[in-house]
């Protein structure tokens, strides 16, 4: 199973690198827009739209990486009073429940993207971006997150350490 856990984590890392590239692209896009507006009195006319697409990749594609590195916060009111094994199982159940939620959401995005494709919906700007593209990007990001959630649950069930270097388990934090 170690190989599976590591492979899934590498995928999460890879998609986080794409998310980071999206963040860099957002900064570059704004810089370009400012230069256009200030020196050439014109505009890309699509800044809001593309910043939106950039942000969605930036967030959704780094969900798995953020979660596996322990950066998603919890409140821990009850769980700190439980034994290590009880915590492990509660954590696994939580990850699976979240996974179900994320998969359900991914299904809805599949429905949305398929409809946008069929209908030929484009964005109402000069770019006329086919809407199924950005919605599919969110869909893929959600699927990758669901995969990492399943791997996370299995790791906790099998009491296997996380492949993420920064991962600190909750009970060690206290």
């Amino acid at each position: 199973m170690s190989r599976f856990y590591l492979a899934v984590y590498r995928i999460s890392q890879g998609s986080a690198i794409i998310a980071a590239a999206a963040l860099v692209a957002m900064v570059a896009f704004i810089a370009y827009e400012i230069v256009l507006r200030y020196f050439f009195s014109t505009s890309t006319f699509v800044q809001d739209e593309f910043l939106g697409y950039g942000l969605s990749v930036c967030i959704v594609w780094s969900l798995g990486y953020t979660m596996e590195n322990g950066s998603m916060i919890r409140v821990n009111l009850l769980s700190t009073r439980l034994s290590y094994n009880q915590q492990r199982w509660l954590d696994a159940i939580g990850a699976l429940a979240t996974g179900v939620l994320v998969l359900g959401l991914a299904w809805m995005f599949w429905v949305r993207a398929a409809r946008a494709y069929e209908r030929g919906t484009v964005s109402a700007t000069s770019a006329e971006v086919p809407i199924w593209i950005p919605e599919s990007l969110i869909l893929v990001g959600l699927l990758l997150f669901a995969l990492q959630l399943v791997a996370h649950a299995l790791q906790r069930i099998n009491d296997h350490p996380s492949p993420a270097p920064g991962m600190v388990l909750d009970h060690q934090e206290q």
Partner: protein, 302 residues
């Protein structure tokens, strides 16, 4: 029955008032059987562009939405926003009556019922000078709201800039833009007179805003209830067109009270110049739509 209706704009806006009136009429007509809660100001989290599928899928039963958000779904929705095609509210009404069957059809194909549409007051130019000739537009940085307006303004030598509405006051106060293309009503709503001295009524266009309803909800109504809905829609539609027509004079008065110069009509020469600049935009749109557009436009031009 309890229905939810989404509106992206404030309840005090023209279309917010129309939506509230529609809800009240419907409650009256149905003797309280149908209770519509209007969520103004985007309180349900939806933007106008989301309304199309939210209503089609039955997430909400009703919404009030400007057509301008739906251009990417079907370009027919651009008709009412085409530049200088329907300069007065009366023209806009005639164009709307001709195009209504097309609007109904697109919504019907997507699981919803078109109830009625009401106009936005015609848009004009806010600025620090009057715009009365082609030369007045030369090099002016103008905030625009859609692709067509951007193309048109580029064509006449102005510098169109697309900005979020919320950024407009700040960008005006720092002179990053010089002028704003919007209705008298839109500018009055955010006290644009604090930042601009003139309004020129060029009658760019009067966009439409529709109230639409989920088809399953509609089909689930008794015949009497359907009649109640239609009666409320008819009354609200009449009110909306009246409000838009009245708002023009009212807003001009408010602007003058705040020391603004209002130019109510522009020289015929300038109108001709703008119409000429707009005509390729209109024909390009008609080509994209094909036969549907030709039919409406030729009927309208007669």
């Amino acid at each position: 029955q309890n229905w939810d209706m989404s509106n992206e704009f404030p309840g005090t806006s023209l279309h917010g008032q129309v939506a509230d009136f529609f809800a009240a009429e419907l409650a009256d007509n149905s003797e309280g059987e149908i209770d519509v809660t209007v969520h103004h100001g985007g309180a349900l989290g939806y933007k106008t562009i989301d309304h199309f599928d939210a209503v089609g899928d039955g997430a909400i039963q009703l919404a009030t939405s400007p057509f301008s958000a739906w251009l990417g779904i079907d370009p027919i929705f651009q008709l009412s926003a085409l530049p200088f095609l329907a300069p007065t509210t009366a023209d806009a009404r005639r164009l709307y009556d001709l195009a209504k069957p097309e609007y109904e059809k697109v919504l019907e194909d997507n699981g919803q019922v078109f109830l009625f549409a009401t106009p936005w007051p015609p848009s004009g130019l806010w600025g620090n000078k009057a715009f009365e000739s082609a030369a007045d537009l030369e090099g002016v940085k103008i905030r625009t709201f859609d692709v067509t307006a951007t193309e048109l303004l580029k064509g006449v030598g102005a510098f169109p800039i697309k900005l979020a509405w919320s950024d407009v006051p700040a960008q005006l106060s720092t002179n990053a833009i010089d002028a704003v293309l919007t209705s008298a009503n839109g500018g009055v709503g955010v006290q644009l007179w604090e930042l601009q001295s003139h309004f020129t009524q060029v009658n760019y266009s009067s966009g439409l805003q529709a109230v639409h309803m989920n088809r399953d909800t509609w089909d689930g109504l008794s015949e009497a209830q359907q009649a109640d809905v239609l009666a409320a829609a008819e009354a609200a539609e009449a009110l909306g067109w009246q409000l838009a027509a009245d708002s023009i004079a009212k807003d001009f008065a408010v602007m003058r009270e705040n020391d603004m110069e209002v130019v109510e009509s522009v020289p015929a020469e300038f109108t001709a110049f703008l119409n000429e600049a707009a005509s390729p935009v209109v024909s390009e749109w008609a080509e994209k739509i094909g036969e549907r557009a030709e039919r409406i436009l030729s009927a309208y031009r007669q």
